[in-house]
């Protein structure tokens, strides 16, 4: 490792260093505000360091990590999201009496796992990143120490451990077949000599592991329970940062322009996507708990993203990236509202907690309305453009059945968002309960998120430029022409170079 290599890893080191500082500070002095401030400072430093390392990328740091524009872009998105989570967690946990400071240690370690994930170019770093993330999540999900939270923690622990073993087994099969765990070399070897009997099950097992983390059908069963049980800021983290990292790694490992030519894989993803869109939206109709509704809606949203992923073509990555950013902003905002409204005894997650909220706390309810409209994909929000991107990606690849299923299911989706809206604006008279003061920091984060949502929803060009500039996988994946990859499923044409 050269010095330049080390320097390129600066963001990761900063993120890894901050929890150490935190542990030391906590050992001497328990102060919630100070802990949050240090957390945010560390994250901001990491964010700034992304610019500092920009001249050195793309750079392969050891076989494990590839610091390319793709990784750096996603790190930026995730770090910003985590800053929001940390600030939202402050008012939330301030109301709790017991040890609050350790949460931020766990949070930072989880982010470290996420950053490793998005930069991983090797199955080992992929697995390490995922485990760092999962282990911290177990503790974070069970952090509230009430029955539901602990139950959710255990549930997540058992299922995540099981899915990790699937992942490991899949990796083993791939290694057995290809003799390498490096992404770049895997792509090369896979085209030349490979036994589909080992490779394909290997990939499918990895999809199982990733699918579990994303909570897509049929690996979604944990999602509603965990979303409901976990403290609201942790749910926000789980729903946005951890899923963003997982989807980013999925793209890095499995995306290539000809993914639809692998017919089996394509079929697997079609089933997952359609299942997620239908099950997520339909099951959400039956819920009365806001966190559970949002959980099912997130299942559906990852179904939509998979449509873009399946479409392939040059819009696909861009569409997915835009969608992930939009989804992160929106979901952070939605769970941010939940966490700002929660008190020390329980989370504000039943529909009754929101009855007539607009007439009592118009600003918060207004922000929540925006978030819900964005989730539903109504124009002038980022959610609309994200959906537009996905539809455009699907249409450009002429995947009409997927696109139409998306349209139909998102109309079902609209129904339950409207149900929350109806409750928000319910109330027959002007019941002027004394307006509770909005926690300044939480309110500030929510306002920023809402502003982003509208700004990029109306004028997305700056964000699109950034995304396109980091157009991305071309750097990390060695560009193997689709025709060459196709050959795995066809007889070698005579005279081919292989």
């Amino acid at each position: 490792m050269t010095r330049a290599d080390c320097f390129t890893l600066l963001p990761l080191m900063l993120i890894a260093g901050t929890p150490l500082v935190l542990i030391l500070v906590i050992a001497f002095m328990r102060n919630h505000a100070l802990t949050v401030a240090l957390t945010v400072a560390g994250l901001v430093a990491a964010l700034i360091s992304l610019w500092a390392v920009a001249p050195y990328i793309p750079r392969q740091v050891t076989p494990l990590l590839s610091m390319d524009r793709y990784a750096v872009f996603y790190m930026g998105v995730m770090i910003v999201s985590v800053i929001a989570v940390a600030i939202l967690a402050y008012p939330y946990f301030e109301k709790h009496r017991w040890h609050r400071e350790e949460l931020y240690v766990l949070l930072l370690i989880a982010v470290l796992g996420c950053t490793v994930l998005v930069a991983s170019s090797h199955l080992v770093s992929f697995f390490l990143g995922l485990e760092i993330l999962s282990v911290s999540l177990y503790a974070m999900i069970g952090y509230s120490k009430n029955r539901k939270s602990l139950e959710a923690g255990i549930k997540y622990l058992v299922l995540a451990a099981a899915s990790s073993s699937f992942l490991l087994f899949g990796m083993a099969l791939i290694y057995a077949d290809l003799g390498t765990m490096e992404l770049a070399r895997m792509a090369e070897t896979a085209t030349a000599t490979s036994t589909p009997a080992l490779l394909l099950p290997g990939i499918v097992l990895i999809i199982t592991g990733i699918g579990f983390k994303l909570g897509v059908v049929p690996f979604h069963l944990w999602t509603p329970d965990v979303y409901e049980g976990a403290p609201a800021p942790v749910t926000a983290f789980l729903a946005t940062v951890s899923k963003t990292a997982t989807f980013a790694v999925l793209l890095r490992f499995l995306y290539h322009p000809g993914v639809q030519d692998y017919r089996t894989l394509f079929l697997v993803f079609v089933i997952i996507a359609v299942g997620s869109m239908i099950a997520g939206n339909v099951l959400a109709l039956l819920q009365t708990n806001v966190k559970r509704i949002l959980a099912y809606s997130s299942i559906a949203h990852f179904g939509y993203m998979l449509v873009a992923f399946l479409a392939g073509g040059n819009v696909a990555i861009e569409a997915v990236t835009f969608y992930l950013v939009a989804y992160s902003v929106t979901t952070l905002g939605a769970f941010g509202v939940v966490s700002v409204l929660s008190d020390s005894s329980r989370d504000a997650d039943t529909l009754d907690d929101y009855r007539g909220l607009f007439w009592r706390r118009p600003v918060i309810a207004g922000i929540f309305t925006l978030m819900l409209l964005s989730l539903a994909g109504i124009p002038a929000t980022m959610g609309f453009l994200a959906k537009f991107y996905v539809l455009a990606a699907g249409a450009s690849a002429a995947k009409w059945s997927l696109v139409i299923i998306l349209g139909m299911t998102s109309t079902i989706g609209l129904f339950y968002y409207l149900r929350i809206l109806v409750v928000l604006y319910a109330g027959s008279s002007e019941r002027e309960t004394p307006a509770q003061p909005l926690v300044p920091v939480g309110g500030f984060v929510l306002a920023v998120l809402a502003a982003l949502l509208i700004w990029f929803g109306i004028y997305p060009a700056p964000l699109q430029d950034i995304i396109r500039k980091n157009d991305m996988l071309s750097v990390s994946v060695s560009p193997v022409p689709a025709s060459e990859r196709l050959s795995r499923h066809q007889l070698q044409p005579p005279g081919s170079k292989l």
Partner: protein, 504 residues
Amino acid sequence: MMLIWLIVIPLVAGILAWLTARWSTEAPRWISLAAVALNLLLTLAVWIGGDNTVGSGTTTVWLAEVDAPWIPRFGIHFHLAVDGLSLLMLVLTFFLGIMSVLCSWTEIRERIGFFHFNLLWMLAGIAGVFVALDLFLFYFAWELMLIPMYFLIAIWGHENRIYAAIKFMLFTQLSGLLMLIAILALYFLHYQATGMYTFQYGELLGTPLSERAEWWIMLGFIIAFAVKLPAVPLHSWLPDAHSEASTAGSVILAGLLLKTGAYGLLRFVVPLFPNGARWFTPVALVLAVTGIIYGAVMAFAQTDLKRLVAYTSVSHMGFVLLGIFSWNPLGLQGAVMSMICHGLSTGSLFILVGALQERIHTRDMDRMGGFWTTAPRLSGAALFFALASLGLPGLGDFVGEFLVLLGSYQVNVGMTVVAAFGTLASTFYALRMVQRVCHGENIQHWQFSDLSPREALIVAPMIVALLWLGMYPQPVLNTFAPAMQNLQRQANLHAMARQNLVNE
């Protein structure tokens, strides 16, 4: 530039109205009134000052135009333009906008700021639909006007408002998404043919399409517009939404929202897919005639006044559909005249029903009767608009329906005959309504005040406008004639181009 103001003024005024509601209950009303009046003046200025003859030549038909790149990634432009058709729709929009602000003056007593915010944003959305010339922008405005409408129904509506609001949203949203998919399909097919990504109406007009593609894409558009129109099998959201909305909501729904569907058919479906529209014509004519008869029969069977008026809309919009798909000058003139006059006459009926409901808190006709003695001005106005609605010669609606029938006669005699019976049926429901409300015995001994000066101020311009349109419609016909000629010319041009493509 004027076009941007038309959109920006209501948006800003909406926010202002919302904010000022904290300090004053009157401020939001005056702000809204001023904003919409200003917009009306701006549009009238274009109408009167505009040189409307240019369109008859081969040059542009646009009286005003704004075009700026918006989302370059997809080749999306912020492209607004008005021709005679758009202009008349805008005049109608802001005219009815003023009426709906006025008619909610005393009706809406709660959440006044938010109400006017929604009202103004919806007017901005509707204006956007009528002037957008970029298909993405069109869809954007199309969807944007739904959310305020949803709130107008769901918050200030009557008993069953939540159900009606959600039903309205789901119908329009699903059909809207189908249209979006169709727009995207057109966009990519255009790219494949020309190598250029664009949503511009002018560019997409001549997109070479195979027959199958044209058919499917057109269907996506037609479903969206048929839901809004509404054409018969897709109309079931309408009676609920109309009867549950507050007066202003009903006025805007009937007067403006339905027109966006008809406008979409005129502006987009036929010129973009001329061959598809020709294949679809028999179906459309059947749907139109079914709507005319069905709406009239259903209206006759209602006891809820608002539902009655709502069903008359189904019937009238059937005439509009008939006129559009006749696609000859007479039919098109009739369709646009019907759109305008229906907006005025049905809007006024809703205002009167709203005024009545504000006084007696019921819409049930079984409990009414003999109001002529109690409220002669109100009853007289009701009779006038009922007569307009049934198509009495001398009033606007007659001109529209007569022209539609003349136009459709050239296309299909059978359908025209059946549709003509619809005008007969409308006599039944309109007169029955007047008879049961204004005449007979006042069983419940209602006593209430007659139309107030404010309400008279709303009704009087409507009466004048309908009389003018009925007696001397030529200025209006002249205004949109070049636009219609242009649409027909475009359609013929592209129909032939595509035919040649198929023949090759």
